[in-house]
Amino acid sequence: MTPRPPHPVYLDNQSTTPCDPRVLAAMLPWFTERFANPHSVEHAMGREAEAAVEQARAQVAAVIGAEPRELVFTSGATESNNIAIKGAARHVAAGNPRRRVVTVATEHKCVLESVADLRAEGFEPVVLPVRPDGTLDPAVLRAALAVPTLLVSVMAVNNETGVVQDLTALAALARQAGALFHTDAAQGFGKIPLDVVAMGIDLMSVSGHKIYGPKGIGALYVRRRPRVRLAPLFSGGGQERGLRSGTLATPLIVGLGEAARLAQAEMASEAARLALLRDRFLVRLEALVPGLVVNGSRSARIPGNLNLTFPAATAADLMAAAPVLCVSTGSACSSAALEPSYVLRALGLSDAQAARSLRIGIGRFTSPADIDFAAAALAEAHAKLAHATIEA
């Protein structure tokens, strides 16, 4: 019997991450004594808050090689994706012949829904398949772009499988075809090198709570040269140059800025550490669970994620048998539904295989002991469940 740790072992860092104590420390004064509205630039306290917001904007921009003024703060990546996709489409004149909006079957629900919503507004949504390893074949995108296309939206890193798309190649195809290129980088920002200039990206969505920052804050990169024009999702006081109205949440923004700064500074060392933990976990689990399958590309992936199909037990049963482990069956937003993952289905898994798949998200605060415990606990649960199945 594996000794039970004193607290749950959190291995769901693609769903959300714990707030880094350094981020918390940076945010705190902006919650309390430095509370002013950053738009109250008429008075000293407001200007101080405004300066903090602008510093954070520069910190976020620096991670992706953007200019600070190219970043718009939002409530999170979901809102950023909505603004980017619907905003780009709604800005184009009704007479514009480009009506096609292209995305990929493994995108986050909010991207798929935003693209699908555009059908009612006279646009043509196109959802491309992926290869069995989860990557988008550039030739498939090229073929889709034969029809004049307004926007291509491809995520940087998949939230369930950790698969990294070749954004540079895909963005180049979009550009050649005269289409805008958006990427949902919620799972990639601060984790893999991203450079909007070098990669040719026009729009990029980022999130705070996926990089050890707070929930409730994100940003959208909007290229200025050549300028990408968007219609706002909603209007109001005209903050963020009219693209996103509403009082900016100074403390959350400061938290996002600090989280971005830390992610950038520690990206290489953290990636190396997470890869070691991931390999350690996989070696142990594969030794104990013959027939275990890793879903998605083995090479084009972030180090902190594993998506595993178990040979003889469902994910739901494994989670129930090892309740001290915080792991998931896929995207948190839809995980309560416990339907087979559409992402894994897109990789070619059957419903039954998808139902036997677990997402393991290793993060900044995962220890080697957590890894060892989790591998042993999962193997133990699997053996018990497999045995019970045979008995039955």
């Binding site: 509370f35 306290m45 539904a337």
Partner: protein, 371 residues
């Protein structure tokens, strides 16, 4: 530093601070099914229940948003479909921007909406009416319950922006008769980054989302909820004491009224003209015009003296111009010569003394020059 710009944002209440910090210690995503996720979910739902209860709504009828602006936009987006829009002349920009082309409901010199005109406008077909409960610049409280009765009789829907009223006067969605009601955490002593839309039970289930996403908020608002800000929102709601039927009554936020009145009287002695002061008002707000002196000049002078007030809504304060609110009230030239003094929940008599010293000094210098 004397902070008298609470209508731009309130200082965080200590109870809200504690709740934010506790929530930041929670690891999970409220949508996750594991133990960490369930703990986050519990906090989210407890927060929803606490806030809904404070405003007389069912938890199921509360949709969390990023703030008041998004809540207003969601209301107009979801309830305004296929309806004519009728909007109060002094509404916040969040409502005005969401209702371009709307019929404008005029107000009188105190800022009170003309209900006879509303009755007339409602004859022209199915409408969504937007009428704020309390104005952000003057604190004027609108006759929302009376407007709701007119709307109901005419088959119209009523959206109420209660962002400035919540936490300062009693707000009960059912007794107001509103079909939807927008709230903002940071205007009642909670953190920035959270708000809510309360929706009448008959309408709430079918609310069309503005932000599509992963099915959060029962499909009515996508995106991982801002749990720490939401927890702080709930704690601030519970801490804000508005157990009073109206702003004249004693206790709670109404305790700010004597301080506000003292500031107003003292400023009048220096030549200020309070605008909208004869209407029912929020207990913490006064709008003070100083004839002949531009509002931005006044704000800068007060700022240099360490007193933080504003020339209008914070969102537009970077571009100081005339106030559309005061223009709608027929304030004439005074519309460009008024500052908003809004007391935070923690205001003290010492704050008022500091304000009056700075105000008298400022008025003495600038009024003389203007004359």
């Amino acid at each position: 530093m004397t902070y008298l710009d609470a209508n731009a944002t309130e200082p965080l209440r200590p109870q809200a601070r504690a709740a934010v910090l506790a929530a930041l210690d929670l690891v999970g995503n409220p949508a996750s099914v594991h133990a960490a996720g369930r703990a986050a979910r519990r906090l989210l739902e407890e927060s929803r229940e606490a806030i809904a209860a404070r405003f007389g709504a069912r938890p199921a009828d509360l949709v969390f948003t990023s703030g008041g602006t998004e809540a207003d936009a969601l209301a107009v987006h979801a309830l305004g479909r296929g309806r004519r829009l009728i909007v109060g002349a002094t509404e916040h920009l969040a409502v005005r921007a969401a209702t371009a082309g709307a019929a404008v409901l005029p107000v009188d010199r105190s800022g009170i909406a003309d209900l006879e005109e509303l009755r007339r406008l409602l004859r022209e077909g199915p409408a969504l009416v937007c009428l704020m409960l309390a104005n952000n610049e003057t604190g004027t409280i609108q006759p929302v319950a009376a407007a709701a009765a007119l709307c109901r009789a005419a088959g119209a829907l009523l959206h109420v922006d209660a962002v400035q009223a919540a936490g300062r006067v009693a707000v009960d969605v059912a007794s107001l008769g509103a079909d939807s009601l927008a709230l903002s955490a940071h205007k009642l002593g909670g953190p920035k980054g959270a708000g809510a839309l309360l929706v009448a039970p008959a309408l709430s289930a079918m609310l069309a989302p503005l932000i599509a996403g992963g099915g959060q908020e029962r499909g009515r608002r996508g995106g991982t909820p801002a749990l720490p800000a939401i927890a702080g929102f709930a704690a601030a709601c519970q801490a804000a004491d508005w157990q009073t039927a109206d702003c004249q009554a004693a206790g709670g936020a109404a305790a700010l009224a004597p301080l506000r009145d003292a500031a107003e009287r003292g400023a009048q002695e220096a030549g200020a003209l309070p605008l909208g002061a004869d209407a029912a008002r929020l207990p913490n707000t006064t709008c003070l015009a100083l004839p002949g002196v531009r509002a931005d000049t006044q704000v800068i002078a007060l700022d240099l003296a360490g007193v933080q007030v504003s020339a209008g809504a914070a969102c537009s304060s970077g571009k100081v111009g005339r106030s559309h609110v005061l223009d709608a009230m027929g304030a004439g030239d005074l519309a460009g010569e008024a500052v908003r003094v809004s007391l935070p929940w923690c205001a003290t008599p010492a704050d008022i003394d500091a304000f009056l010293r700075a105000y008298h000094s400022m008025a003495g210098r600038l009024s003389r020059r203007a004359a």
